[in-house]
């Protein structure tokens, strides 16, 4: 006998309406007896099989490198590999911590991170609030479409565009010379490099960053605004007392993420421009790892720098999360308590 649609029990007759047919828990929430793991394995073999390709890729390119962190404690030898390279103990770290170039990179990273926090972080918030106040939905979606676009450009492209605008032969300097002023080598000035990098990051990512904030604003109950307006609150007071508090959770979450990744300030951006401004200004922890590890062929040292960064980052994210709890927000996660 074949089962037809009519044989399927209707909504009223199902013992647990809306529940997954494969749930092995009964109505009382207790495990049903009789479904052993062999049966479940056989039942779900297709589902498990479907995850295998992705699992293999993750094992090869995420887990194997995690294991490869041992390089930081080895005199890595290309031929011997992870398994047969001689152990170095903490020699790589000793070498790392006496290297002034490493401390320069560390300092650059912290300074850049701070500059980005101050100059980049508020931009998407302000943009989102401003965009949300535009009444015409046509204008809104046009502006959105335009400001999202640079997110999809590569860093090579973004830096090339900056070069054509602000570089020595670019539009800006051409304007300066034709109006009798001295040129300004923004693209090659190590002193202002941190602001240049931040400006590039703002140009590329700030537009895309507003998506999250727009969603947070859209989730605010509109009757709050109406009530506030009836009580005589003006535009700015409504923004201060309703919009911003409504975005507070998202802002804190993104701040936590930002603090947790304080040591990741960008990578391609710095490699591409390192030659133009010099390594003193453009070296950050990630590029240090690359140049001293891959380019200078000192894998142990590069891996040690990478591990140092990973450990400090982990401490930072835990601390930032604690801070979020302190301010009464959920942060990234909340331990069971």
């Amino acid at each position: 006998m074949t089962i037809t649609r009519n044989d399927v029990p209707g909504p009223g007759t199902s013992p647990v309406p809306g529940r997954d047919a494969r749930d092995e828990r009964g109505q009382d929430g207790k495990k049903r007896a009789g479904i052993g793991w062999r049966v479940r394995l056989r039942r779900d073999r297709t589902l498990i099989f479907m995850t295998v390709p992705a699992l293999l890729l993750v094992l090869a390119f995420n887990y194997l490198p995690m294991f490869g962190t041992v390089t930081a404690f080895q005199y890595y030898d290309y031929i011997a590999g992870f398994f047969h390279s001689p152990w170095a103990g903490l020699d790589n770290f000793r070498q790392l911590f006496v290297d002034p170039a490493f401390w320069q990179a560390f300092e650059n990273t912290l300074v850049l991170s701070f500059v980005q926090l101050v100059l980049y972080f508020p931009v998407p918030i302000a943009l989102a609030i401003m965009l949300n106040s535009v009444l015409s939905s046509k204008v809104r979606s046009f502006v959105q479409a335009v400001v999202y676009l640079p997110h999809f450009f590569s860093w090579v492209l973004v830096i090339t565009l900056f070069q054509e605008m602000l570089g020595g032969a670019g539009v800006f300097n051409h304007f300066l010379t034709t109006h009798g002023m001295n040129t300004w080598g923004i693209m090659t000035d190590p002193g202002t490099f941190k602001y240049l990098v931040t400006a590039q990051a703002v140009w590329k990512e700030a537009g895309w960053g507003i998506i999250v904030f727009l969603a947070a604003i859209a989730a605010i109950d509109p009757t709050l605004y109406e009530a506030a307006a009836a009580d005589g609150a003006g535009r700015w007071r409504r923004m201060w007392h309703i919009t911003l508090p409504g975005m507070r959770g998202v802002i804190v979450l993104l701040l936590v993420l930002r603090l947790g990744s304080a040591l990741s300030v960008g990578f391609e951006q710095f490699i591409i421009q390192r030659y133009a401004v010099g390594s003193n200004a453009a070296e950050v922890l990630d590029t240090y790892s690359y140049y001293y590890g891959v380019v200078a062929n000192n894998f142990g040292l590069g891996a040690a720098a990478g591990l140092f960064k990973a450990v400090v980052s982990l401490v930072l994210i835990l601390a930032a999360n604690k801070l979020a709890h302190y301010f009464g927000e959920d942060g990234l996660y909340r331990g069971k308590s």
Partner: protein, 316 residues
């Protein structure tokens, strides 16, 4: 165009975007209105102006570039010369083809792996669900870092064609898988249950029910993967920096435009016989060529952003 053909009733919980001014809102002052309009115009111009200059310069004759003294802002004396030179064979043509093929193949592969994996993880009480899911999630918090990853990848692909090293290591984004999975678990759930009651197997459900009803999220994810492959530059620098005949377009852009190296096949020597960077219009044509695929695909996917990005950002 199929990405838009499926329409789903708007969830009633989300308010429709407001278009008119609510009755209780005061009329804005002229100054405020002016300030807002001005700042929005500036924001839009900051994005559009550089693109405008690059496009115009790429279409300009050498004469008008000379008159402008570099980048051309006001169009004057337009020509297709740069494009016919760039696309008539040679370095840039080859790099465009390599870039497009890599992007198309990589995106297809990534989507196939991610979609099946997301579906495989979408039954919360299936066998091994929690273990497999955790295996993926751990990689979002811990990683090997640059050096160990480089060693592993270089080791795995030594002796093979290096294009594999550009595609496979970044083929799967756990973040994207989780977004797709969340979509399958929330939106497609009832349909999946209905199909199973009707006797469909898992592959059948994925192919005939889940995929056709989740085109929005698929479109956004395919765009994310595709842009990742198209923009990949550092992997080329890591794994095949010396073989210029294999470079995709991004690396060609870096080498011949950003770094100003002399482009092979473009006759440009100064009086002393030193090779020079390619003429500005050709360089800008390369910039435009790297832009074109993104700008073509972008409008079709853009309207789905909110849905695709939000599931990830808000719901985790």
């Amino acid at each position: 165009m199929t990405a838009t053909s499926f329409t789903r009733p708007r969830p009633s919980a989300r308010p429709r975007p407001r278009t008119g001014r609510p009755v209780w809102e005061e009329k804005p002052g002229v100054l405020g209105q002016l300030g807002k309009g001005l700042s929005l115009t500036v924001v839009v111009l900051l994005v559009v102006f550089p693109l405008w200059c690059v496009v115009i310069t790429s279409f300009s004759t050498q004469g008008s570039i000379n008159i402008a003294g570099g980048i051309v802002v006001v169009p004057h004396g337009l020509t297709l010369g740069a494009y016919s030179e760039m696309l008539s064979g040679g370095v840039v043509t080859r790099a465009m083809i390599i870039g497009l093929v890599l992007t198309a193949a990589g995106t297809l592969f990534s989507m196939a792996v991610s979609v099946t994996c997301a579906y495989g993880l979408s039954r919360q009480r299936s066998f091994g669900h929690r273990t497999i899911l955790m295996t993926f999630i751990v990689t979002m918090f811990f990683g090997g870092g640059l050096i160990p990853t480089f060693i592993v990848v270089a080791d795995i692909f030594s002796g093979y064609d290096q294009y594999w090293a550009l595609v496979l290591p970044g083929a799967v984004s756990v973040f994207n898988i989780l977004i797709i999975r969340a979509f399958y678990m929330n939106t497609a759930r009832d349909l999946i249950d209905a199909a199973r009651i009707d006797g469909a197997g898992d592959w059948r459900i994925l192919g005939s029910v889940v995929l056709p009803t989740s085109k929005a999220v698929s479109a956004v994810m395919a765009l994310f993967y595709g842009v990742g492959y198209w923009n990949s530059w550092f992997n080329v620098a890591l794994y095949m920096p010396t073989d210029s005949s294999k470079w995709p377009i991004q690396y060609v852009l870096y080498e011949y435009v950003n770094q100003g190296a002399a482009m092979p096949g473009v006759a440009a020597h100064d009086i002393a016989g030193h090779s020079q960077p390619a003429p500005l219009s050709l360089q800008m044509a390369v910039v435009v060529l790297t832009l074109v695929p993104i700008v073509i695909v972008y409008p079709f996917v853009q309207k789905h952003f909110a849905k695709g990005a939000l599931t990830g950002a808000i719901k985790g």
